[in-house]
């Protein structure tokens, strides 16, 4: 995790429930997902398999499925379920309707 300071990425309502959007933070691309239980997850935006855009993937409460070849990664740990390299996970939370990325 590079970001040590908190970054406000704007209102949570920018992300529809159950979907993800990509944000550029300090030159990094980070996919933020808003789960259907309305909690947030943040992971690297680029699929380590072949560079698929993870924010375009489908999610449930545990995993994100990359849209290109349908490999899945755990949203909480970043671990791959299929022997792929892991993705980064970043601390993220909601505060007063805003997405706060970082510790």
């Amino acid at each position: 995790m590079k970001t040590t300071s908190l970054v406000n990425l704007g209102p949570v309502t920018d992300i529809p429930l159950g979907e993800g959007r990509t944000y550029a933070v300090d030159g990094d691309m980070i996919a933020i997902f808003r789960l259907r239980d309305s909690s947030l997850r943040a992971v690297s935006a680029i699929c380590p398999h072949k560079g698929g855009p993870l924010a375009d993937g489908q999610i449930d409460n545990a995993v994100v499925v990359c849209p290109l070849h349908l490999f899945a990664w755990d949203l909480a740990t970043g671990c791959s379920q299929s022997g792929q390299p892991p993705i980064n996970v970043y601390p993220v939370r909601e505060d007063d309707g805003h997405i706060l990325l970082g510790d």
């Binding site: 309502t13 920018d14 992300i15 529809p16 429930l17 159950g18 979907e19 993800g20 959007r21 990509t22 550029a24 030159g27 691309m29 996919a31 259907r36 935006a45 680029i46 072949k50 560079g51 698929g52 855009p53 993870l54 924010a55 375009d56 993937g57 489908q58 999610i59 449930d60 409460n61 995993v63 994100v64 499925v65 849209p67 290109l68 070849h69 349908l70 490999f71 899945a72 671990c79 379920q81 299929s82 022997g83 792929q84």
Partner: protein
């Protein structure tokens, strides 16, 4: 008391041994070290991975959860650097020291590089463009590099080299195989068989083979430009793969003072000589002077080791008789025992049919099979292996050993002895399969999971199925999950639809909440969304996250994360004005590729997501549905309009069908075509639904055809007298398919499953009395059609068309000029 078991090597032998120990309820706390940064994968499958017929996901044997669930500490990516046998401690590359009560060494082999000039780059290890073929990382690297290069040379004409050459053909246009010996696979095949194999490899696969080829030098300074042979020949290439043999990984063990000759010396209990508590299994172990480089013997060793370490006395490994039965680069090869007669009395039986590439040789001594070589036809391999392993007396009629006299007979489970090996990759016997079935597991997939039969190369799957059926007394049990509509909801389609209706579940999230024991499941969303939309029409609550990205942005995602735009062009007919507009838009948006599709439409490829709405607006044409599991296009031929053969107006009918059923969603894509006469220029015989005009003003309707990954000629559903009837029956058939097919089941599977006669009864003859209901349902769907490209003005969700791509675009798609 729980003992500490440490295993060095997390490959096929190491992990298998631990599995065998767990199965015997050994009381150990297990710690494993593997210097590859992965869980346990099937090394054999790397060949398939290279050839593109297997994904990385498919080759993992035990995932990280398996280690966790069994309380095993896995140190992946950690190498053991020294064993202190006196203190019973292993030292690893991270500086850690791990004590053990029992130690298993399963370090396998490394790929050996024959002496050649310039093979290593002092800075980088291997010269750039030079690869070994041993690990997942090797394979990944090879694929990544080969993709952008043209000519490959493989050094080594054994099994591995052949597999590598075959796999590389998938990535480069030209492959040459160099073999230092006089013929291919000289350790398993006699010269004659080796030459037959060479002829097949060259003729059928188009791989150049050069034997007696000693590679002396790799050419090129920064990148490979070629290889040079000892006789001075230069072969130009930009990729080199070395598959010249393997050597056991024993250096660390020898440096630690344990006994190593060619391999680590073990006794019949797989104990390292002179060390009570240290064992070795797999390719690194030397048993009675032999080293084994195939998996079957390793499984035998693993069993003996596991028995012994968990306290069974009197077990011994006495060596394995080696036999191989494989498809080498797509050609059947089997070999066992001797490859040439040794005594004058040895009986040799040879059958040779060079034109077909078939060669069979048996060597018999005292009525016992001591060697066999088969090339090009493996149908008798299984029974020969049995004779060879057991030394059973052979039939008088020797030719029956190599031919099926009186027609091919499938091996019947009933006649097989209990210890007959069914799965040659994983060493599973008929008895083991029957045991699992007797233990209450009656599904084929369940038996495969429990025994691993059929999980190697997969060729024995049909036999496994037959044995499971036989052991079950006739039929295998249905695998329940196999009948579920989507993986996350344990119900077949009809039951699922009934529950959805009963509880009036109109959104995907409500289905998960009510019917899915595990809650939301990403991999089930798309199937449920399509089903609900079909069932509820306008009442369907459309949750966008349930859609696949293509359906969220109404465009097809491409490998670089961009999308493609395909304007509607009904029946493949367009106008100069439309073409002009498409050309202008393509230019304005710098579309990298404009391509005609197989379905007669114009594809604008490489469009960034955020540009989609503006492009749609500029085009001002409806969506051409090149994405989604839905009604796609109706391909047409010229027909009676212009064609001198045409007997029906195929173009008009195609347009009418497309106008009516555009956008209709289903469990799979629906591709249609209409041809104006049986010359079939629109390829109607191989469509989900294809129509062909015949003389006399009549139309034939074919269903269940395919010309994609599967090829199938459609079945004739019926012949009708008017275009109106074609349109009506098309809708009725599509609706029946929408309601009854499994998720992603295309019509080429659906139609044979139901049977075209039965479908005709329902759709044409209305024997079930549901035709009117089908017509009404499809009419409702037709009425609710809306052009999704209209969403451009007002996005359905915030950021619907915001880019998800990285700032640096990752896999660059080549742009042709």
């Amino acid at each position: 008391m729980t003992q500490k078991l440490v295993v060095i090597g997390n490959g096929m032998a190491g992990a298998r041994t631990v599995e065998e120990i767990l199965a015997r309820h050994g009381d150990f706390s297990v710690t494993m070290f593997g210097d590859e940064p992965y869980g346990n994968y099937n090394r054999i499958m790397l060949s398939n991975l290279l050839a593109g017929v297997e994904t990385e996901e498919g080759i993992f044997l035990n995932d990280l959860a398996w280690y966790r669930d069994n309380g095993i500490t896995l140190n992946a990516g950690v190498k053991i650097e020294r064993i202190d046998a006196a203190a019973r401690i292993v030292h690893d590359s991270n500086g850690g020291a791990t004590p053990y009560d029992k130690l298993i060494i399963a370090t396998g082999s490394y790929s050996w590089t024959p002496p050649m000039k310039n093979v290593h780059n002092p800075k980088r290890g291997y010269h750039q463009g030079v690869f070994a073929f041993r690990t997942l990382d090797d394979t990944r690297g090879m694929i990544r590099y080969a993709r952008d290069h043209e000519r490959a040379v493989v050094i080594g004409g054994g099994l591995l080299g052949l597999e590598a050459a075959r796999g590389l053909q998938n990535h480069v246009s030209h492959v040459t195989l160099l073999h230092a010996m006089g013929h291919l696979m000289e350790r398993q095949l006699d010269p004659k068989a080796g030459q037959m194999l060479q002829a097949s490899v060259e003729g059928k696969l188009g791989i150049n083979v050069i034997t007696n080829a000693m590679t002396s030098e790799i050419l090129g300074k920064d990148k490979v430009t070629g290889v040079k042979l000892a006789d001075g020949t230069v072969i130009e290439c930009d990729v080199v793969v070395i598959a010249a043999g393997i050597r056991p990984n024993t250096e660390m063990v020898a440096n630690s003072g344990l006994p190593v000759e060619r391999g680590i010396v073990v006794d019949d209990q797989m104990r390292v000589q002179g060390h009570e508590d240290v064992y070795s299994v797999g390719e690194c172990a030397q048993h009675r002077g032999s080293l084994y480089g195939l998996v079957a013997p390793l499984w035998d060793q693993a069993k003996v080791l596991a028995d012994h370490i968990t306290g069974t006395s009197g077990v011994a490994y006495t060596g394995s008789k080696l036999h191989t039965k494989l498809k080498v680069a797509g050609i059947d090869v089997a070999s066992m025992g001797l490859i040439a007669p040794e005594h004058d009395e040895d009986e040799v039986i040879v059958y040779n049919e060079p034109k077909k590439g078939v060669y069979k040789q048996l060597i018999i001594r005292n009525d016992v099979l001591v060697g066999a070589t088969l090339v090009g036809d493996n149908s008798k391999a299984a029974s020969l292996i049995q004779h060879f392993d057991r030394g059973t007396a052979l039939p008088e009629e020797r030719s029956s050993l190599i031919f099926d006299i009186g027609g091919a007979v499938e091996e019947s489970p009933e006649d097989m002895p209990d210890d007959a090996q069914v799965c040659n990759c994983n060493g599973v016997s008929k008895g083991a399969i029957c045991g699992v079935v007797a233990g209450g597991c009656g599904t084929v997939s369940g038996v495969m999971d429990k025994t691993r039969a059929g999980k190697g190369c997969g060729t024995c799957k049909p036999l496994v199925q037959r044995i499971v059926e036989w052991a079950n007394g006739g039929a295998a049990e249905e695998d329940p999950a196999a009948s579920w509509y989507v993986p996350g909801v344990p119900m077949p389609k009809s039951e699922l639809m009934a529950s959805i209706r009963k509880y009036r579940l109109t959104s995907v999230s409500s289905v998960f909440a009510k019917l899915a024991p595990g809650g939301e499941d990403a991999k089930s969303k798309m199937g449920l969304a399509s089903l609900l939309k079909m069932m509820w029409g306008a009442d369907y609550v459309d949750e966008r996250d349930a859609r696949f990205i293509n359906d969220r942005v109404h465009a097809n995602i491409q490998r670089d994360g961009t999308f493609s735009v395909v304007p509607q062009m009904k029946g493949g007919v367009t106008t100069p004005a439309q073409l002009r507009k498409i050309a202008e838009v393509a230019e304005k948006y710098d579309v990298p590729m404009v391509k005609l599709t197989g379905g007669q439409r114009i594809d604008l490829l490489g469009v960034p997501k955020e540009k989609l709405p503006a492009m749609w607006a500029d085009l001002d044409m409806p969506s051409g549905y090149a994405y989604a599991k839905s009604f796609r296009t109706v391909k047409t031929c010229v027909g009676s309009d212009f064609c001198r053969f045409g007997v029906g107006d195929s173009t008009a009918l195609g347009i009418a069908l497309e106008e009516r059923y555009q956008g209709l969603e289903g469990p799979g894509k629906m591709k249609l075509a209409v041809s104006g006469c049986p010359r079939n220029c629109a390829e109607s015989y191989v469509k989900d639904l294809g129509v062909v005009a015949i003389d006399g003003g009549r139309w034939e309707i074919y269903v269940g055809g395919a010309a994609g990954a599967h090829i199938r000629k459609g079945d004739l559903l019926t012949t009708v007298g008017s275009a109106e009837e074609v349109i009506r029956l098309t809708g009725r058939f599509l609706q029946y398919y929408r309601e009854n097919a499994n998720w992603l089941e295309r019509t080429y599977a659906f139609v044979p499953r139901i049977g075209v006669d039965r479908i005709r009864e329902i759709v044409v003859d209305d024997t079930d009395g549901i035709a009117a209901a089908l017509d009404a349902a499809v009419e409702e769907a037709v009425q609710s059609y809306q052009d999704p490209w209209k969403e451009r003005a007002e996005p359905a969700t915030p950021g619907q068309f915001r880019t998800s791509l990285p700032l640096i675009v990752l896999p660059q798609v080549p742009v042709r000029s």
